[in-house]
């Protein structure tokens, strides 16, 4: 979604494809092949805006199928289509001169998992294509469990290759490659608690600039690290589950980010005919600006949109006026309602509101001079198991 205006950060799209590939349902359920297959349909409607400008609107239907095969195998596949359109500022949050775009993206991924005694191995492939950006990725993930199944180690490697051809032809035939590794452990802590720690490291080289932003010139390599800690806790009193997470992120742009997530899964028991669950969620995010991000100059400064110290000619230092690389904090509040109709059918609706502001950055000042970003998300999904 919105990838054509964000080709610069599209390495992150590949990373998200890989991350998504690592979440294959087949790998999720410990070390036994799933007893049931499932097919899921989902629809997303996303819209964001800033004061005075509606920005990106995306509609995205998707379908996902997971099937156990021959007792010890599972196959999973997903297809997603995004229809994205709208406006993006060419620099900072400037409304004038914002670029308008409309694009369709299609993505598919497939994964095959083999289940062994206390271990799994998953091979995954992903493809994503749109007018100006094509990405292909491959991943291999494995898990290994202790004999009592209370400890599970996870390992993964993945790589991607992207081809970039922006419609404004500012560059032609650019490429980017990334490689990532993952290591993690999941540990049962008590009959009511389970925790997980995951480390990832990614290296990429190639074209990282956002070709639709002015004066966007980024290093041709990027290294990223994440540490993710998750904890699920079952509350006997209410039968609810608290799902908590914290992610630390750091990269070679000198962006440091903290993400706190909390979900409260509350089954409603026999109320309303039974089968209902409500899930409120809260997410807090804070990041520092990239080292080469530059602030907008005060209003009316002549030549204000240029990076400081800009001199025309080749050999520019790195710079970017991309809001996504500024320092800011963001909050998401959402509610999901799930209805299990019977053993086979499940419906859910999820609504989220997101707001991003420079002044909300935690512990330090965020980047000044940018308009806040508001986004709302609506998702509807149906799952059928067999």
């Amino acid at each position: 979604m919105t990838t054509s205006s964000q080709a610069g950060d599209a390495g992150t799209l590949a990373a998200s494809l890989l991350a998504a590939a690592l979440l294959l349902p087949g790998v999720a359920q410990a070390e036994n092949a799933p007893e049931n297959g499932s097919i899921g349909l989902r629809y997303l409607d996303y819209a964001d805006r800033q004061p005075g400008l509606d920005r990106i609107h995306a509609r995205s239907p998707s379908v996902s199928v997971m099937a156990p095969v021959a007792g010890d195998w599972a196959v999973e596949g997903t297809i997603v289509a995004d229809a994205v359109s709208g406006a993006s500022p060419r620099y900072h949050t400037a409304i004038s001169g914002a670029s308008h775009m409309a694009d369709n993206r299609k993505a598919a991924d497939v994964g095959v998992t083999r289940y062994f005694h206390r271990a799994t191995l998953t091979l995954g492939g992903a493809f994503s294509g749109e007018h100006d950006y094509v990405s292909r990725a491959l991943s291999l993930n494995g898990t290994l469990s202790s004999e009592d199944n209370n400890t599970t180690w996870a390992f993964g490697v993945a790589g991607s290759r992207d081809s970039i051809n922006p419609v404004n032809r500012i560059v032609v035939g650019e490429r980017k490659r990334t490689a990532s590794v993952l290591a993690g452990v999941t540990q049962v802590l008590s009959p009511n608690d389970i925790g997980q720690v995951t480390l990832t490291h990614t290296r990429g080289n190639g074209y990282f600039d956002d070709p639709y932003k002015l004066f966007d010139h980024r290093p041709r390599d990027r290294r990223q690290d994440t540490l993710l800690v998750r904890w699920n806790h079952y509350l006997d009193a209410t039968g609810a589950t608290a799902r908590l997470s914290y992610r630390w992120y750091g990269d070679s742009y000198r962006i440091r980010a903290h993400t706190f997530g909390a979900e409260y899964v509350q089954p409603l028991g026999d109320a309303l005919g039974g089968g209902w669950t409500v899930v409120p969620e809260l997410r807090l995010y804070s990041q520092s600006a990239a080292s080469f991000y530059y602030d907008p100059a005060p209003d009316g400064t002549p030549g204000g949109l240029f990076p400081p110290g800009y001199v025309a000619g080749p050999g520019q230092p790195f710079s970017s006026p991309d809001q996504r690389l500024s320092g800011f904090g963001a909050v998401t509040a959402g509610l999901k309602v799930v209805r299990a109709l019977n053993r086979w059918w499940t419906l859910d609706v999820k609504f989220e509101q997101y707001e991003q502001r420079g002044s909300w950055r935690l512990f330090h000042d965020g980047s000044p001079g940018l308009a806040p970003l508001y986004a709302r998300t609506l998702q509807v999904g149906v799952t059928r198991q067999w």
Binding site: L22, A28, P191, L199, L325
Partner: protein
């Protein structure tokens, strides 16, 4: 980058401590009824579909500087 190293250094120690705390009273296979519930697992289920997580990853990656980090799920009912 050094930030990750110092945090990662702590992780095995924390894990060993957690396991020691739970370890010698380690959870038996028949005590995993609550852990078997979909909400308690880290993987996908009809309660937390893979597609939903995928959309979230994609949205945040498109609007923020950080990306990735999600790991594979684990745990479950201890069923074989």
């Amino acid at each position: 980058m050094t930030g990750v190293r110092s945090v990662a250094r702590v992780v095995p120690g924390v894990l060993a401590a957690a396991m020691a705390l739970s370890g010698c009273a380690s959870v038996q296979p028949w005590e995993k009824g609550k852990l078997a519930q979909p909400a308690m697992t880290f993987g996908a289920s009809p309660l937390a579909p893979g597609l939903e997580t995928r959309y979230a990853e994609h949205i945040y990656t498109s609007r923020e500087g950080a990306s990735g980090g999600s790991g594979v799920g684990g745990g479950g009912c201890g069923c074989n």
